[in-house]
């Protein structure tokens, strides 16, 4: 198995068993195996009797796709992973069709965390929408608030103070660092390594305490406001930031030391789940997963929002497109984010952090679209105002929701134990997937 060969196919163990049996029989001087039923059809293999019914639901298939999924060929069975599964990144269900230990088809069943956030936002005022979107992609709550804030500012036609924009960029990049750092830990955890998640959480706890010092909340920050941010930086934040800056490269470096050159880790991720650039674009994959397939698409460069056109950073890509490339892409982006944070702290201007905005915002009727680069990809908000105090339509496009579509594309031909390695390298967060 090589990393560059996209057509890696693991041999079918049932065929291997039969070949082995024929070889042994020939070595022992026996003839070929004779079975009842003329050697064809399910009767030929009595050991698989009854397997054609395993895992089938008790309702008829609704679509062509389900019809294909529920039609079990010889030796195949359906296997449920989830909705409660120790390593499924939240509550989702994978319906896996397996032949022996090799996956032949896969379906993603969602909705176990669907909370109706869009509908709730349409019944909330513009200010309170920013509290509802927090638990969407709960590993990057700052990004969740960033896109609606930009969209509402466009609707209302308001200018954000310069210092507020810098503070926004600062907290957003801090959030990106701990989100990617935890992804490294989860990827190792799903393949059986416990230690990297401990390092990941040390870094994460340090960062969220730092963000709690500025926002007051530890996880769902509710820090952004329409027209600015809630608080200016304070002394505790600055102290913690300097301490964080001196530690972060060490904590990330510890994880890298454990994983990047680790023989078991590379053996299980290199060449696994190769996503070509053409497929990735067609499937709507964005963010680090798309860049790991070699497409240099980053919203921060493509449509610069906030202050990203004044900062200097590169769009890194990886050519391979496998699980290991997606991991390396995260590591590289952590270093980019730390580089960005250094620039933002150096250039931070003085001034107010909140524009003059009334308590109840009533924008003129109109439409606004705002897209940002979240740790998982293109996160966008489409908001429509009808002149009232609450948005007429509030639509969020979450990157991990769209990214999950690659699973049926990638997994056939792989072993079932590799599902989690591919899944963790894609890094979906169910709160964002199910809204």
């Amino acid at each position: 198995m090589t990393a560059t060969d996209p057509d890696v196919r693991i041999p079918d163990p049932i065929e291997l068993d039969e070949l082995e049996e024929e070889r042994l029989r020939a070595a022992a001087g026996l003839g070929p195996r004779r079975v009842a039923g003329d050697g064809a059809g399910p009767a030929a293999r009595p050991e698989y009797a009854g397997f054609d019914q395993v895992g089938l639901p008790d309702r008829p298939p609704q679509t062509e796709r389900e019809q294909r999924l529920f039609t079990l060929n010889e030796g195949e069975m359906l296997l449920n992973m989830g909705p409660q599964h120790p390593s499924t990144h939240g509550v989702m269900r994978l319906l896996v069709k397996v032949r022996g230990e090799v996956i032949t088809d896969l379906d993603v069943v969602l909705g176990y965390l669907h909370r109706g956030i869009e509908k709730l936002c349409e019944n909330a005022t513009y200010t309170t929408v920013l509290t509802y979107v927090d638990p969407m992609d709960y590993m990057s709550a700052m990004h969740n608030e960033h896109a609606p804030a930009i969209a509402f500012e466009k609707l209302y036609g308001i200018e954000v103070p310069r210092r507020a924009e810098y503070i926004r960029a600062l907290v957003v990049e801090l959030n990106r660092v701990f989100s990617h750092g935890l992804m490294m830990g989860f990827l190792a955890l799903d393949m059986g390594g416990l230690t990297p998640i401990l390092y990941g959480f040390i870094n994460r706890d340090e960062t969220v305490e730092l963000l709690a010092a500025i926002s007051g909340q530890r996880m769902l920050f509710n820090f952004f406001r329409v027209g600015g941010v809630n608080w200016d930086v304070n002394d505790e934040f600055i102290n913690r930031l300097s301490r964080w800056r001196s530690n972060v490269e060490k904590t990330i470096g510890d994880n890298e030391l454990l994983l990047t050159q680790n023989e078991i880790f590379t053996g299980r991720t290199k060449g696994l789940g190769v996503l070509t650039a053409r497929d990735a674009i067609s499937l709507g994959v964005s963010g680090p997963n798309l860049r790991a397939s070699g497409v240099p698409f980053d919203v921060r460069k493509a449509h610069p929002y906030s202050i990203y056109d004044e900062l200097e950073f590169d769009v890194i890509t990886q050519p391979q497109g496998d699980s290991y490339a997606r991991y390396m892409q995260r590591v590289a982006e952590i270093k980019q984010s730390i580089h960005l944070i250094d620039q933002i702290v150096d250039k931070m201007p003085h001034g107010p952090v909140q524009a003059q905005v009334p308590g109840i915002i009533r924008p003129r009727p109109g439409r606004a679209y705002a897209a940002i680069e979240s740790p998982r990809g293109l996160y966008s908000v489409y908001a429509i105002s009808d002149g009232g105090p609450n948005p007429y339509r509030f639509r969020m496009r979450d990157p991990s929701y769209i990214t999950l579509q690659v699973m049926p594309k990638l997994m056939p031909g792989h072993l079932i134990a590799d599902t989690m390695a591919v899944m963790a390298s894609l890094d979906p967060i169910m709160g964002g997937v199910d809204k």
Partner: protein, 223 residues
Amino acid sequence: MAIDTNQTNTGGAPPQNIPPGTAPPPIVIPDQAAGDDLLREFDMEEHPRGGFHGLLEVIPTKADYVLDLIRANSLWPLLSGLSCCAIEMMSTATSVNDVDRFGMFPFRASPRQADVLIVAGTLTTKMAGPLVRLWEQMPEPKWCVAMGTCTTSGGRFKRSYSVVQGVDRVMPVDVYVPGCPPRPEGLIYGLMKLQELVKQRRGQWPDYVDRGPQRQAWEGDVR
């Protein structure tokens, strides 16, 4: 003597089908006289559900107390995170907050091996069925912790069309930990409260365990 009226197992002789028109057979308790002598000697009385209470109850209840201590200090939670609170639950388990100090670390992936279900995150109607099934698969005695406002009442999603408004609508809850999400310290405090409940023998127990007298006996020690 306090009797827990919630218990369905009443003990004693099973009800007998007596055909109409015949006299009930006499109830014969073997060795009644000898037993009464023994009871009087040790200042004990017979419990209506079986067993004896009095001076000699010290011996079984001390053993039970040790068992309760062991139970309370080796609670194994089920690894079932639903949503945002799951991340804080993991943070509680990892090295910074380290709930291992309280004997709670080994998050079990299988409900058959777990004692505590920490419902961490919003429970939707689609997930309610699988979660109740997990709860029913856990062996008794078992306890449930509702972590976060979503599980205590629905929280910020209370109005939503697909959210269960409080996990106590579908399963019994022993400890509620408010917060959105609670800090790890908050969860640890809730778990310490849960350990007190475990020592009081509250929670979901098998029917055949008589926990009324023991609860009475050890309430003073806990407080």
